[in-house]
Every structure is written in C-alpha cells, then in structure tokens.
Subunit: 520 residues, 2 copies
Amino acid sequence: MGKKITNSLGIELPEYIEGYGKVKPFMGAFYYYNKENYKTASRRIKNHKPENKKLCSSIREAIEKTGLKDNMTISFHHHLRNGDAVIMLVVEEIAKMGIKNISICSSSFTNAHEGLLEYIKNGTITSLSTSGLRGDIAKEISVNNIMKNPVIFRTHGGRARAIESGEVKIDVAFIGTPACDEEGNMNGSEGKSAFGAMGYPMIDALYAEHVVAITDNLVKYPLHRISIPQIYVDYIVEVESLGDPNLIATGATRITKNPTELLIAEKAAKVLTGLGLIKEGFSFQAGSGGASLAVCRYLKEYMVKNNIKGSFVSGGINAYILELFKEGLFESLLDIQTFDGSIANAVGNEKGYIEMSASMYANPNNGSCVAHKLDMMMLSATEIDLNFNVNSITGSHGIIMGSIGGAPDTAAGSKVTLMTVPSIRKRMPIITDKVTNIVTPGETVDILVSDRGVCVNPKRKDLLDEFEKNNIEHIDIKDLYDEVISLTGTPDKVQYTDNIVGVIEYRDGSVIDIIYQVKQ
Amino acid sequence: MGKKITNSLGIELPEYIEGYGKVKPFMGAFYYYNKENYKTASRRIKNHKPENKKLCSSIREAIEKTGLKDNMTISFHHHLRNGDAVIMLVVEEIAKMGIKNISICSSSFTNAHEGLLEYIKNGTITSLSTSGLRGDIAKEISVNNIMKNPVIFRTHGGRARAIESGEVKIDVAFIGTPACDEEGNMNGSEGKSAFGAMGYPMIDALYAEHVVAITDNLVKYPLHRISIPQIYVDYIVEVESLGDPNLIATGATRITKNPTELLIAEKAAKVLTGLGLIKEGFSFQAGSGGASLAVCRYLKEYMVKNNIKGSFVSGGINAYILELFKEGLFESLLDIQTFDGSIANAVGNEKGYIEMSASMYANPNNGSCVAHKLDMMMLSATEIDLNFNVNSITGSHGIIMGSIGGAPDTAAGSKVTLMTVPSIRKRMPIITDKVTNIVTPGETVDILVSDRGVCVNPKRKDLLDEFEKNNIEHIDIKDLYDEVISLTGTPDKVQYTDNIVGVIEYRDGSVIDIIYQVKQ
C-alpha cells in the first residue's frame, strides 16, 4: 500500500494513489495560502482566418475535428441538472467511435447521467471528476468498485482552481449553450433550453485545448449578450435539444411543509437575527432546498419589518431569492448557476443580477472570490460530528450519494457558517462522533442548528460571547450528541475494503478525505 | 550590422535588432497561419484570504506592493485618449521612487502623454510599445533617437496576441477605471471619468503578473456591471481624477465641412452602394474622422431609402454610429473603445451594444475575431502607394506622427477594404510610388477613393468585374499617381541614418517595416 501520511483532521492518506497521483494532505483551511509557487495553465494558441467556419454537421464531426482520442480528458457543465441531455449525447458518440479510457471532468453529475454506467462498464469512461454523484453509478462505484480510477470530488471553487492551475488538463470542453451564434458567442439565458447563469464552463473555455459549443438555438451573429466569447470556441454543433430546463428545479423550489424542517428554519432565523447579523448591507448565501427557503422567508419578514436592505445574495439563485431582489430587499445577485429554469432569462436582463464564473465565485487561488465576501452562509449536510466536520458526499452507510457544491468554499469564506440539519434522519443519528467522510472541515463551520438545539463551535469564542450577550439558547454539541444517541443507539460502523473509490479534495487541492469501497 | 533578411514586401530587415530581438519577417497577411506552434502565456497563481484588503492609500503604496523594480514592464490603456491622466500619475511616481529602465506597453499614447519625454530623457522609461505616437516625443525619437530601444508599434489585435502569447510579459498592469468596487470589479461606463468600452486592459488583466486598478469612483461592492472581474485584480488605488473624458473626442465627432473630404465621402458612398455592398445584414467598420462620418451619412440615407438594416458596426463607436443603431439601422454595435465620452454610459445599458476585448476585436491567433467577420471597412492614411501599401504611422518626411490602430487587422479581415485619402495634402502627394513606411500591406487593401478618382487593387479581379458590371468609374492607380506627381513634382526622398528608432509589427508579430532615424 505504500507510505501513509496523516492530514490535520487525523485522516490517514496514502502518499500516492494509483489513478490519482501524489497526495497533498489537507492541513487547514488556509494552510497552503502563499506557500506554493505555481503558474496558470497554458494551452496551444489557436489561429483563425476569415474563411474558416466553425459549424459542424454533427457531434461526430466536431469530435473528429478536435482529434479526441484514447486517454484524453473531456469536460462538461451541469447547469441543466436533471434535464441535461448533452453529456449523454456526446459520450454515446464517443463510445460509437470506439474511443476508450476517457476522463470526464464535469462540474457535476445528476440523475440525467445514469446512462454513463454502461460506458463506465465498457471502458469508454475510466475516470470521473465532479462535485457530486448519486444514484446507480454512485452505488456501483461505492459497492462494486467499477471505476478503473477513483472518482475525484472537487468543490466548485476547487474545480476552477484545478483547471486554472493545469492540475486538470482538459483536451476537449463540450459546452451546451441555449443561445449561440456561428462564431460561438454564447449565453445561458436565451432559447428554449435556457438555464440561466453559465458560471462553470466559463473556466473550461479559457483553458481547454479545444472547445465545442453544442446548441439548440443558433442565433444571428453577433449574439447580443455574451457570457463566453467566440475567441475561445473552435467548433459548433446544432442539435435538436440540450434537454429539459423544467427539470433544473426539482423539489427544491417550494418552501418545505415538513414540520422538523420548519422548526429548524425558525430556529436558524432566530439565531441569525438574534446575533444582529441581519443588518443593513449584509450578504449571504443559502443553499437550495426547502429548509433554506423557509429561513429566507423568516429573514424577509424581519428585513421588511426592520427596513433592512441587504447587499448581495450569491449562489445558486432561485425564484424565491430573485423575488426578494426584485422587491428591493437586496441590491444585487451574484449567480454561478441558476436553480430554476423559469427564471433563466433574468440573468443579464435584470440590472444588478450578475453572472459570475466558478473562479469568481469560489476559487481561493485568484485575486479574490465572492465566497470570501460573504457575511453568512447556510448549508445542509448528511452528517456533522463533534468537531463540526461536515459530510455531504456519503451517507452513514458509506455509499456515495451527495455532492460538495460550493459548501467548503463558502464555509471557509463567510464570516459565519450555519449548518441546518435534522438531528435524526430515518432513525440514523445525523449528529455523530465522527462523520463517515469529511467534506467541509469543522474549523470553518460555526453554528449547528438542529431540531433538538443549537450548538456553537467552541473555536468561535467571539460567537459564543454574542450568544451569551444576546441570550440565545444553545447547548454543547456533546450533549446534543448524547441525546441523539440515546434515541437512536450507536450505529454499527461501516466496513470497508482497502480499495479507494473516491478522493475528496479540499478547495486548495489538498486531500481532505478518501472514500473506500464498502464491504457488503 | 549583422545579417539581413528581406520580407515579402521587399523590405530589408536585420535578422536581429538590439533592444527588440530576433526578427520574424512579414511574409503575407496569413502566411504564419497554423505554421507556428506556441502556447498561451502563464503567470504566477494568486492566493486570497477573506481578510485580505486590496485598497492602497496611494499609487506609491500600490507600486511598492507589486514589487516593481528596474527593467520591468508596465502596461496602460488609452481609453481616455487626450484626457488621460493615469499614465503620467503612475510614471511620475515610478520616477520619484528612482526606478529605471522601465518598458511601457500601452494600447496607445496621445498628446496627454507629452510629459513622458522628461522620463525618457532621464532613463526612467527606456522602451515603449504602442499603437501610435505623435507630438514632441515622436519627433524627438525620429530625429534625435532619444530612446534606448526602438519603439515597437503594434496593431490592436497584435498587442492582444503579443500579450496572450507571452511575447510581451507585463509585470504590472495599471488600469484606470471610472467605476470600481473594493475587490476590483470594474467597468468603463459609469462615473465622472466614464469613457465607455474598456477593451484593451481586458487582456492585460488576464496575463499581467500584478494588476493595479486606479479609480476616481469607488462604488459599493459588488459593482453591478463587470467588464474586468475581481479575480484578476491585486491592488486598488483611489485618486482624485482619472482625467477628462471630454477630451476623448477631439475634432473627429462632427461631419467634415472640408469640400475635398466631402467629395471623397460622396465617391466612397457611391462605390459601396454601386457595388451592392450596402445590403440587408451587412456589417462594417468606419474609422473615426470627419470624412468617415460623412460616408456614414450617405450610407444612412441609402439604407433608409432602401429599407436596409445592417448587422453590426464594430470599432471605435462614436455618437453618430450610436444614433444609427438607436434608429434601428443596425442590430448591434461591437465596441472596443468608445470614441466619445458623451456616450460612455451607453455600453452595457443599450441592449445589443456589446463591449469586446482587444482579442475578440482583432487578434488573429484565437478562436476567431470580429475583424474577420466584417463585410467592409473604411480607413484613412498618411500615404498609399502603387502596390496599395498603406502608411499611417510616419509622414512623408519620415517622422513618426500617427498610429496603426486596428487598420491592418480589419483590412485583413474584412471582405472589402476601402481607403479614403486626399490625393494631395499640403502640396505633398499622398499617392506615392513607395510609401515611407508600410503599416497595412497592399494585399489587404482593395479600393482607393481619392478626390481625383477611384482605383481598384488589380489583385481583386472579382471587384474589378463588379466595377465593370455596375459601371462604376475607376482609373488605374498608375494614372492617378502620374496625375498627382505632375501637379506636385516628385518629392525628395527622406534621408536616414542607420539607427533603428521603430519596429512596425504586423498583427501576427512579424516585422513589416522598420523606422530609421531621420537625417537632418
């Protein structure tokens, strides 16, 4: 197994992982700040003549023109989420061409990509890097170790960083775009498949050796609002459909009716207002999901009553947040990925609704990112432990079933990070002594709000003082844990094989945890 | 003197030029297309922590933080043209700090930068690269060879190419911006010094080792419309004033009343309409200047009468072109540099008025540029010769007094390139047997319109056929030349020393001509 090293969270890591490479251990949220000296990635200079044409008659033709071959890396974005058809269109064609051993670097995968399983099994796809993974593929990887190489999980900021630094070298970026002209100027907010902000592929376009735009809406040159300009685009393919934007928002658009979630939301709102954080000019990010929206509703009431206007909301903008913005409760929105197809057109049409790249959103290795400007952020999780370490990638059964998103990025950047979690889910304790896998380190998580009480990370003495000063109820996380365990009992520890099926990178590219194959 | 080589225009060049480097000879407009294999430039990865602050209390502090020292290269943009105060503010501070041997890579210099002469003479500044140079500095360089190194003249597209390819390595980019927030998000269209599109520094920001934003309008975070995002910015300095945007448009905003220019404009319009080029969906670029505007007025009349709507106008957008756009005569504007402070705010506020980077405008070494999409472009010049080679950088006395701009870029890219020139200016022939210096090669120049007749480049047999077919009057350029010379006499040839004071690069980085010191 080779030599082992231990990261600052006490997790033992191999020095080298087959199919991944040399391991840089996680040593703290900003440990590597200004400690490394590396350069931005470089790529072949493109040439252009006026008579050149970029339009191809098929995906096959575009793939052939890029010279894609065995062992190369391709990239995608997942802005169409559960409605995305692009990844499968391209991968099916690659498979037909007999190309093997392809690595996919996607901003994420959704249930629209279950079809990849076939191409993983037949050796077309042998590496995945992503923010999240769910469903059958995730289960097959966790239980049956079907991938040749471990899946690399990256944060949204970490993916931008990895591409910019050349750690990930993309040979061909395939960018699905609902509006595109014949030179490849694109935006995400016009056309029948409009999905809104296109923050992820903005980075791919800058650094990929070849860029293929795939569109179902070829418009007259020049496109009037440009998110990715023609200078980065080599080939363009027109297809029937990019997918179904109605499937972008699934479940997460309505405020929850679940009584436990409503209770948690109310508690969270009380903490935030009680601490005086909801004040003129504050900024925040709330993840998607019903509990988050419920918190937002409470905050809105408070803001209106107290005549408070916030600065910006970042994220993941959904219809509810857009409504708050339109009502004048926030000055601007910073959006990397619109969480609702029905508001896709607002990006670029509402003054102050700003589209941002993944690098601008959350990359720690640039001039500065929006995540570092946040006053507060709320996030949910699959588990949280006594050290406030957060898991959102595996369930307590050890199986991959979630995603990282921008959680570690915004948790590290925002002044206050608040977790909302039910204390028990399906009879399993969500507050644990040790999370199955660490995605967001406890040092960046400040407050835990559960149905059974609010806990403050003891490292945040300043916050504890504020809790005391403002008489906000809170309990020790150990007490909460004991209460939960007294109800659920201590669950059996998951048994693993020695096979590494996933590597979880922190935003700075260090390895924060490893996912092993679950022993059945 | 070392070995000599001859470029495809028959100009003898040294193989190596001291203070410039190895010479790549110009061999044709697209000769180097896909013949070279080089990569995009790379730079040190930046790091950021939430507590970092970019605001500096003075230009001095920002310069110190960048670590600027002797022999480094700094960059500027000239969007404020004759009203720019930023270059002198920075250079004066650098001089006070005792830093020597600085190279300046500016998108251009104007008469606002006459003060540089002092700093050239005292050794603070020893290299310049620019699109244009006029006034005392230009004269001192031409006549007294005061620069340590030859001035490098680049096209707007060529400058973007040189920066992207790493041929120019910018250590510190100083970007004057009329709207900036505390993280460095910038645009050019808001604030008291608003100048409009900021196409040039968009490239500097991407590749410079350090980026300093200089603003006289620090706004609340986040700025609502972002042309250059915070991820590229290291330091920010607030100053009293960036300069005077009223001086951007000087002379060139009103339609000429000069009868010769009006005659040329009328002839040009007749050629363009006669050839059927003014048709639904056509695109064009007209340079600045009164004659250009006069042509536009004729075109407007024709378009309105014939119910024609154009596609886009690129450039250099001025108030007259904006008016045509607002009247619905064009679908969009693509602007790299707004030619009138009074319309600075229109960029980003008028749907279809698109801001573009210098690379998107005219760089031949990217996915594709706007210059390559033009149906026609008009340009003016200081001289044109029997081979249709165009000079716009030196006068017939050999002294530097002009600029290249995007002329060679758009001439190479557009389907039809039309030159408007008076046949005689101040008793000097403008049609010559051989131009003093070549800036735009004749192979990319198609039609010459002068007060004494219209000539067609014999290489464009297709155009000659169209002239015949449409009964458009035209004469042989040799006949025009003979007529002009019979009136002016043959001027004495300029006498030069062996000292090279300027190197004129074609857009692809090859050397198209060399400027020698004039013998007095």
